[in-house]
């Protein structure tokens, strides 16, 4: 029984001379305690999809269709006040850049306590105790002192730990993490990822991890979604995706990993670049860069071919499966 189910989600941005469709026909679900990765290049729409779940897309973007079902509530149709009860409560978020995420003029404590006061109706003292406890949980040294400090007194890695502590405050069912380590030093990236993984496992929290790093996805998640030009092109168990990707785009991504080439050799790359959302090619959006392209790919958008525990949107894969 999935805890969150997204059905045919579509997000549009009104532009001069027409609307831009940032993501279309996005459907996926996540079970309690499951860890799901969403991968793709920049501009594939993975962040838009993540933020759309809590209806946090920046203006003028809006959800133009689909459902976001969380425990039977359609978050896409709730009133702002009803939606607020879910935000930061059952579903919390971790943002990309910890330098920008925390309010510079409020103490760490203020920014933590307010969540508990808002969602749990706790008093200051009790909330503070919980906050200190969560800071200890994310391995912040001397949390009783740190809680009264301002964000600028903490390093980037420490700040991201604080953000993770905030995400854990209300014991959420789902954490959505939007590239939580991209802005950090490489040495700290692994630490933060391990921490996040450990916390999700011990607390049985579901994690939606947005990233462009296939390595991180393979270490953390159980299932992965690959997005291209605003659509899901492949979904399946993470190990299958990494070891035997079906979609030519996923193939290209995995081949491009540095581990796949010998030292001194040129890195593999997918020819061309992802189309801008303003002029997505007709048919399969990936066809101009695809080595298996046929006439069909240039005219018809591929539907999903269902495999065991997986699905792929590709005419070439569909043809292989039929034969």
């Amino acid at each position: 029984m999935p805890i969150l189910e997204i059905k045919n989600l579509e997000v549009r941005f009104p532009m001069r001379g027409g609307e831009l469709i940032a993501i279309r026909d996005i459907s996926f679900s996540i079970d309690r305690g499951e860890r799901l990765g969403i991968v793709g290049e920049s501009g594939a729409g993975k962040s838009v999809a993540a933020f759309a779940i809590l209806r946090l897309i920046g203006r003028p973007g809006y959800i133009s269709g689909g459902q976001i079902l969380f425990e039977g509530n359609d978050l896409a149709r709730l009133s702002p006040e009803q939606l607020r009860q879910f935000r930061g409560n059952q579903i919390t978020m971790i943002f990309q850049d910890p330098m920008m995420t925390l309010n510079p003029v409020l103490t760490i404590g203020t920014q933590m306590i307010e969540c508990l006061q808002t969602h749990r109706g706790m008093g200051r003292k009790q909330a503070r105790k919980v906050a200190v406890e969560k800071l200890r949980r994310v391995a912040i040294p001397s949390p009783e002192a740190r809680i009264d400090q301002y964000p600028h007194e903490l390093s980037g890695g420490m700040r991201q730990r604080v953000v993770i502590a905030i995400a854990l405050l209300t014991d959420p069912a789902i954490i959505i993490a939007d590239e939580p380590t991209t802005a950090l030093d490489v040495t700290i990236q692994a630490e933060i990822m391990e921490l996040l993984l450990a916390l999700c496992e011990t607390h049985q929290v579901a994690l939606i991890l947005i990233t462009h790093d296939l390595g991180v996805v393979s270490e953390i998640t159980q299932r992965a979604i690959v997005m291209y030009a605003g659509r899901i092109v492949e979904e399946g168990p993470t190990r299958d995706i990494i070891e035997r990707a079906r979609h030519p785009y996923t193939h290209g991504l995995i081949d491009a990993l540095p581990e796949r080439t010998h030292p001194g050799q040129r890195l593999n790359q997918i020819p061309g670049s992802m189309p801008s959302l303003v002029d997505i090619p007709p048919g399969c959006a990936f066809h101009p860069r695809c080595e298996h392209v046929t006439d069909l790919c240039q005219t018809r958008v591929p539907g999903y071919t269902l495999l065991d525990h997986a699905r792929v949107a590709c005419h070439w894969v569909a043809a292989q499966e039929q034969s």
Partner: protein, 326 residues
């Protein structure tokens, strides 16, 4: 903190020195003080003798050095017209001007923050458009015209408020004449305060609006929404506190500038303050009084700026007040 003050006092002394130099050097271009000082009957020869006695014929640097030596002892010379120490004459008029600026500041604080915040939160509402349009008009109309319009409407046509003077005043300790303690004094204060704030208020509304709109786009505000906080808390704590930081810096300087605007307001309302006195002094070529005025105003400027920096340091946790270049 102590280092901050020492550095500030050093800066203030340099500023005051430059102001005194400028003030002192313009006096030769203002006209002949003797024309106002003595009657028509005094002959040119007698005038020359007087000039020599007053030291007006000495070279500029000699005069300035003499002035500086006395100024450090707090003696800015005697007013030609009042025949009394110029500083004393100015300081007598200080309370009237300070209360006028306070009145205008209060109006600005009370109205600019709520209106600016409203306009930032509801950028597309018709009320915002109306406010933005009106504020442009407010900025464009000169203070003296606003003042005359206010007098015409509220004093002459409606008769709600008195049109000139300070009304009844009471003396506080230290000889401070205040109009704030009597109903009559307060009634007299309202129109001049509105007139004085008429340029700064729209400026502040626009400043607060644009700052707040920028803050609302920040990632930490989006994170605050993601935390499920109430709109009230996001707008009035998370966003407003960040909005007010740059506003305090600009605002402090502007409040200093308002002292300059009091010249116009005080003239139209016959407000017995420093600005009014200054214009009279210019007309009478009362140079010691003019110089004293410029120095007192300069000092007020330096003090307000220091206060603003102090407040900024208190509000902004990322700023520490130190003696080093910050």
């Amino acid at each position: 903190m102590i280092a901050f003050f020492i550095r500030r006092i050093g800066q203030a002394m340099i500023v005051m020195f430059v102001i005194s130099l400028i003030a002192f050097s313009i006096q030769d271009n203002l006209g002949d003080p003797l024309r106002e000082l003595v009657g028509q009957s005094v002959s040119e020869a007698e005038r020359q003798v007087l000039r020599d006695e007053m030291g007006l014929n000495d070279p500029f640097l000699v005069q300035y050095w003499r002035f500086l030596k006395r100024a450090v002892k707090g003696d800015l010379g005697n007013s030609y017209f009042f025949k009394r120490p110029a500083l004393e004459v100015i300081l007598e008029k200080l309370p009237a001007t300070v209360e006028l600026v306070m009145g205008a500041t209060l109006i600005i604080l009370l109205f600019s923050i709520p209106i600016g915040v409203y306009c930032a939160i509801n950028p597309r509402s018709w009320l915002t458009k109306l406010m933005m349009g009106t504020s442009i008009i407010g900025i464009s109309i000169p203070v003296f015209l606003t003042a005359i319009l206010l007098i015409y409407l509220f004093s002459i046509e409606l008769g709600w408020f008195p049109s000139f003077g300070r009304g009844e005043t009471t003396v506080l300790f230290g000889g401070w004449h205040t109009g704030l303690l009597t109903r009559d004094g307060l009634m007299h204060l309202i129109l001049p305060s509105i007139a004085l704030s008429s340029i700064m208020l729209p400026l502040f509304i626009r400043l607060i609006r644009s700052e707040m709109m920028e803050v609302l786009e920040q990632e930490y505000i989006r994170f605050a929404w993601a935390k499920g906080l109430t709109r009230k808390r996001i707008w009035f704590l998370h966003a407003l506190k960040n909005t007010l930081l740059p506003v305090i810096t600009v605002g402090g300087v502007q409040i200093g500038t308002m002292i300059a605007y009091t010249i116009l307001t005080e003239t139209v309302f016959q407000w017995p303050g420093m600005g009014f006195l200054f214009l009279e002094a210019v007309n009478r070529v009362d140079t010691p009084l003019i110089i004293a005025y410029l120095i007192v105003v300069g000092l007020i400027f330096v003090i307000t700026n220091t206060l603003v920096d102090l407040i900024y340091g208190l509000v902004n946790p990322t700023v520490k007040l130190t003696g080093g270049a910050a």
